[in-house]
């Protein structure tokens, strides 16, 4: 028997698998499956969602056969299986359930795709369709050297802004994860917003997803990694089921299909929660336009990366808050050329519009308003984190953690959206506001 670990990539869901069962009277049944999960060296798991012929058959006659395909060599393997049990609790079930729930939520079918259990099969034999012709495939292994380099790089970061930017660059340089973004929870802890990104035409900084909804939201809520190998096929599968639900008159159970943030042609997605000190500090999302780009080994590497990153993200703001800070400098009198820019602030949601274009809202919007007010009133350009943290009018929840991320969000949104106001960090705990046009401030309710 071929060891299942040596053909691990066959169990990534890159190609559909096919399963044959037969009734006690000897009538065969053939069905296609998105994925056969390898549970250990002697067991595989198949998802049990609907009561169907396969299930009827295995309860009558436990023997089954599956064919899986290697994405590297395209060799096919036959697995002789014997159904053992169905698990509806435990780590394996939860992991598969989270993945299914994440995809279901993304496609607006959380009431349709429900994992009832994991059917566990013992693998009696595993052999190549033609043993003489099997190509050597080298399973992808964890890149420990890369991990060492990555952790060294992020260990040298002294502030959160540098950390998130450096981490995403290092993921590309070291592991070839070229398209990535980090999202963090907002002040309500009900949504995540993008704090930093790499490898996209638009940075997407500030874009939001609700926690608990969509692939990213479900991964965050469950604090569980979610990985897909072929997002286009997942979407086609979901659309086929959606159409069938509509035909059966179940339209009322459907929710809206959600677009996944990031690459419009993402085939491979790996979402890893960032958890430190038993708290969700964000999610790391990796994407690729290539199907099957992220393997089980990548998921293990990304989990280690995420844990290092999460600890640093949790600790750096605390450290910044504890640092003594220099006094803020005053700006000089200066009249700027060019037309005046109109900055509107709406108190109801702290949203900011510059010359009619939305910039930001929430705590970051409120901070921005304070800064431009100070600038307009006395031409102040240098500020300290501490004075903002102590400004009771901002009423920031969980203040130490949130201030740093809000300032990063604000700085990056300005980079994306405004070419005449910039925020630059000048030493730990201080930052500088550059304004190249005269401002007219308008406050609204």
């Amino acid at each position: 028997m071929i060891p299942l670990a040596s053909i691990e990539s066959c169990f990534e869901g890159m190609f559909p698998s096919v399963v044959c069962t037969c009734s006690r009277t000897g009538i065969p049944n053939v069905t296609y499956l998105s994925i056969v999960h390898r549970l250990d060296d002697h067991h595989v798991g198949l998802s049990y969602q609907f009561f169907n012929k396969t299930r009827t058959n295995i309860l009558e006659n436990p023997l089954a056969q599956a064919i899986v395909i290697s994405p590297e060599t395209a060799d096919q393997y036959r697995l002789d299986l014997r159904y053992e049990r169905t698990e509806s609790t435990g780590a394996v079930f939860q992991k598969m359930k989270t993945r299914l729930d994440a995809v279901a939520s993304q496609s607006g079918m959380s009431h349709v795709f429900v994992l009832r259990g994991v059917d566990v099969y013992r693998v009696l034999d595993c052999r190549a369709l033609n043993p003489e012709l099997v190509a050597e495939s080298i399973p992808k292994t964890e890149d420990l050297k890369g991990l060492e380099a990555f952790t060294e790089t992020i260990a040298a970061c002294r502030d959160l802004d540098t950390l998130v930017g450096t981490a995403l660059e290092a993921l590309s340089r070291t592991f070839g994860y070229d398209n990535s973004f980090i999202m963090v929870p907002d002040e309500s802890a009900k949504s995540l917003y993008t704090l930093a990104s790499r490898g996209f035409a638009l940075s997407g900084v500030g874009s939001e997803v609700p926690i608990g909804t969509g692939m990213i939201g479900v991964a965050a809520e469950r604090r569980t990694a979610v990985r897909t190998a072929n997002a286009v096929r997942d979407a086609i599968f979901a659309r086929a089921v959606r159409a069938a639900v509509v035909r059966e008159g179940g339209e009322g159970t459907l929710e809206t299909e959600i677009a996944l943030p990031g690459l419009s042609n993402a085939q491979s997605v790996l979402i890893v929660p960032l958890v430190a000190l038993d708290r969700l500090v964000g999610v790391l999302c990796l994407q690729s336009a290539v199907a099957g780009h992220f393997r089980a080994a990548d998921e293990r590497v990304a989990q280690i990366i995420a844990r290092h990153l999460a600890v640093a993200m949790a600790i750096l703001p605390l450290r910044a808050a504890a640092e003594p800070e220099p006094a803020a400098a005053q700006g000089g009198e200066l009249t700027l050329p060019g037309t005046r820019a109109i900055i509107k602030y709406y108190r109801s949601d702290h949203s900011i519009f510059i010359d009619g274009a939305y910039l930001i809202r929430g705590v970051a919007g409120h901070i921005f308003w304070k800064l431009v007010q100070a600038y307009a009133g006395s031409r102040r350009t240098d500020f300290t984190n501490k004075e903002i943290r102590l400004d009771t009018s901002l009423r920031m929840p969980d203040i130490k953690d949130n201030l740093e991320t809000r300032l990063i969000l604000l700085r990056r949104r300005l980079l994306d959206r405004c070419d005449f106001i910039t925020i630059t960090q000048i030493g730990r705990g201080r930052f500088h506001l550059d304004v190249d046009r005269e401002l007219t401030l308008e406050e609204h309710s």
């Binding site: 890159m14 069905t31 023997l63 056969q65 994405p71 395209a74 002789d80 012709l133 042609n265």
Partner: protein, 167 residues
Amino acid sequence: MTVSIDDVLKAFIEGGVSVSVGTCDSDLAPALARAWGPRVGGDRRSLSLCISAVASGKTLHNLRDNGRVAVTFSLPTSYKTAQIKGYWIETTETTAEDLAAVERHRETFITATEAIGVSRDVVQLYVQRELLSSPVLAKIVIVPEQIFDQTPGPGAGSPLITSPAAS
């Protein structure tokens, strides 16, 4: 009693679908084989398929032993899936027409798979590896008794056409 394959189903199963044949032996152990070049007979009551003579030896044996067969057709671009259950009537050598159907089928399958974002190189490799592993094909002819809609979703498994005699 047999059922007939209509124009819509004929076009579907002779398109770019993935085709798998299921059988079982006298110990009720199932066996799978990939099939290529499905062709619906002129009377619409039979179907021929080509499978590897060597790599699908167990399938050929099971067919001769008990004749029970299930064939599932699934289109990668839509997940539309149909399953035909019936019985085997003969195994023969392939003809030039059968091999031409296999060639056409492989090309349409590659195109369909490419359309869902799997690179042509990968699918071509898959087809080539299978060709290497099964250079000699055998033709099997089956007679459908039941046809099921297996498209994923709440209606999966419902009969498209069912012979009253079949159980």
